[in-house]
Symmetry: C2
Subunit: 436 residues, 2 copies
């Protein structure tokens, strides 16, 4: 496996002083900007070739990647990293294969760049088209999973953007080994290696510089826990595509079918509890609580979920723990659910407006008029009717790969796939028209 | 004419201390946020009624508006405002009529809110729709023309957004009088007056607060000269929709028809020299300079345009003044044009990449292959073939009203009309689906 210069430097020079880091980060930014210009006009075939060649390199360098990962794990153990974080960090042969096939899946997605969004002709004969083009340079800040290095790099490459990746410092060796493989792919396709770069230092000051180079970085995508997002939101001088948290609600309306209410609630909470689309609070229409609450709670308890509820719920079901006010504002990301009785859809809307995170919320009801009220008035990126909140995912939306989910209102909202990482320009075709 | 409380306060209290201004600005932001929530679910009819009633109020309060404008002009003269600025500020009966009919034109535009951008069905039966919704609260900072107060307020209202308007301090009385009329319209339609608010103080510190309340303001639209935009870019903690300058190019390729080249160049430069879509630099293919340059320059000189050029151009036409390096980076916004000979489309692309502002550029040629190269590779919000750069305008694009032109790559790019002031949400309709 070839080791790129940056990686070598990162291994030799563990400590950088402030000026060095600023120079390093601006250097990464300038190289990325230049690479983005070249990539913007690359053909789909060239980009897909790079992705497929990178996947092949990942497979043929499996041993070296696992060695690098072992060094990260050893380094993590020495620093006393928790077992759960070591688990997130650890790669094995099948995980490397998964990373490689992930890149191939990105190669098989349609290329958004150059696609015509809409075309219209003006009365004076001008033909105006809106054509997709890349955003430019994307800075991605994420926590320790090394697979994100390949996913994020691949999705940026496909959408014509250069990526500057700042992974969890625990995974630096693994990420560098993965990026080496992506560089092999880029070289094979005659694209600049700097299309995908990693920040080659563990120093946290590097993030500070990355967030404050609006001339060199067009957008920041932070992926991680609430504290990471909060730091990035506070420090960034560059627009973000992000969500702070996914405090998702399931509302069971009086019009809900009992079996559907049970299935959706159980799935929304328990399918995977650590994803942003997992439900955290269940709202039940007071008018149907006696019918809906007992079987729903029974399912949850049987599945190992802790159930906390307000007075109304505890009057109906004994095994519910008393919820506190803090519960309505807590994203557990764990097998815990808070339940509250509300007065119909109006009560649910009021609770969600006060406590939601504008991420994903669902209503279960066979009353379609009530459903439309909920779909219209809940102010979240994703609102569902009679479906689980766990569908909040680019893959489930048919977008293929995604880089995250946005709760922002600017540019991208909801799952962020290749198309959401593009901008557009207007192409106007005339026959000599001048303006009156 | 009813005078709103804010306006009364602004007239009595000319000076605010810092704490007062912060309180004032956060108060405006909180009221705007609340108004935006109510407006988001208002019907198209209600919004259009408000716009039409505001237009009627402008007409029936013409005398009071002109009185307020006279006070602004008197205040301006006392402060020694230049005549050209007094001219921009001055209203008369027909200008007020123009403002009123502008609001009616916005009322007759389609309502973007609630429109379905796209819908698709997943293999599991989930039906996913992307539905337009407002952005929220928009802060608009502009220079002295009072008509912008109505245009900007109207376009925000129509797109379901609350507006906080900070006009030129010279036009404060006029703007307040116009906003009073908009408030009458909003009241008539039972919408909150706070949908459109003006900053009721001339203190420049107010802008600083407006730019640093990301919790209360979703987007800033600065409209004005380069120094205003630069200040806003530097200070803002909120994403901007803006362009810094419009350094637009006309490129006359060897494949250009002489008559078309003449007509487009003259129009692109001289139709109106003060608009952002006016051409500032003309690039001519060296291979056809002897044919194209002389008649083009003659037209420009006859129209009263100063012509500056590089050595090559001056060797061909005597009346061209020597251009300096600074000319290629200057947005004249005046009857001045710089001309340079370049080596074909590659030379034009290189010049535009180095000196352009990513706003609007055009190629004149009958060689369609060369045109496609230009359209693909020029990295501007608007690229044209065989048409004047002065078409860079929302009205000319068929968008109706616009709030400005964006050279950004995030969210909106090119002319910014009602649709560009919206976000979207995903509405997902299911039949009990849970995720595997």
């Amino acid at each position: 496996m070839s080791i790129t210069q940056n990686t070598t430097r990162s291994r030799k020079q563990a400590d950088w002083d402030k000026d060095d880091i600023e120079t390093l980060m601006r250097g990464l930014g300038e190289t990325a900007r230049e690479a983005a210009r070249a990539l913007a006009h690359a053909s789909t075939e060239q980009k897909d070739d790079a992705l497929r060649a990178a996947a092949a390199a990942l497979r043929s360098n499996k041993v070296q990647i696992l060695e690098a990962n072992a060094r990260d794990i050893q380094h993590g153990r020495e620093r006393g990293l928790r077992d759960s974080l070591i688990d997130r960090l650890a790669l094995d042969g099948s995980r490397v294969e998964g990373i490689a096939s992930g890149l191939e899946a990105i190669a098989s997605l349609p290329d958004p760049v150059g696609s015509v969004i809409e075309t219209w002709t003006r009365p004076n004969g001008l033909e105006i088209s809106r054509v997709r083009m890349p955003l430019g340079v994307i800075g991605i800040i994420y926590e320790s999973r090394p697979n994100v290095t390949a996913d994020a790099g691949g999705i940026c490459l496909k959408s014509g953007n250069a990526a500057i990746l700042r992974g969890g410092s625990e995974s630096l060796y693994s990420s560098a080994a993965i990026v080496d493989c992506i560089h092999q792919g880029l070289r094979m396709a005659r694209l600049p290696e700097a299309v995908v770069q990693i920040v080659p230092t563990r120093d946290r000051a590097a993030v500070g510089y990355l967030l404050t180079m609006p001339d060199l970085v067009d957008i920041i995508v932070p992926r991680g826990g609430k504290s990471l997002i909060e730091r990035v939101q506070k420090e960034s001088r560059i627009p973000l595509i992000a969500h702070l948290e996914g405090l998702c609600h399931v509302y069971l309306d009086a019009g809900a079918d009992t079996e559907m209410a049970r299935a959706i609630t159980l799935n929304a909470k328990m399918r995977r509890t650590s994803v942003c689309g997992a439900a955290e609070t269940l709202l039940i229409d007071r008018a149907a609580a006696a019918r809906l609450l007992p079987p729903v709670v029974r399912d949850l308890l049987e599945a190992g979920c802790e159930v906390r509820g307000d007075k109304g719920t505890r009057a109906l079901v004994q095994d519910i723990i008393a919820a506190t006010d803090a519960d309505w504002d807590t994203e557990y990301l764990d097998a815990i659910l808070s339940i509250r009785l509300v007065d119909g859809v109006a009560g649910a809307l009021e609770h969600i407006a006060a406590h939601g995170s504008e991420h994903t919320d669902t209503i279960v009801t066979n009353d379609f008029k009530t459903a439309e009220t909920f779909l219209k008035q809940v102010d979240s990126a994703i609102v569902l009717h009679n479906a689980s909140t766990q569908f909040a995912d680019g893959g489930e939306f048919g977008m293929g790969a995604e880089i995250g989910i946005s709760t922002g209102r600017l540019h991208a909202r909801g799952p962020v796939g290749t198309e959401q990482l593009t901008s557009f320009k207007y192409v106007v075709r005339g026959a000599g028209q001048v303006r009156l």
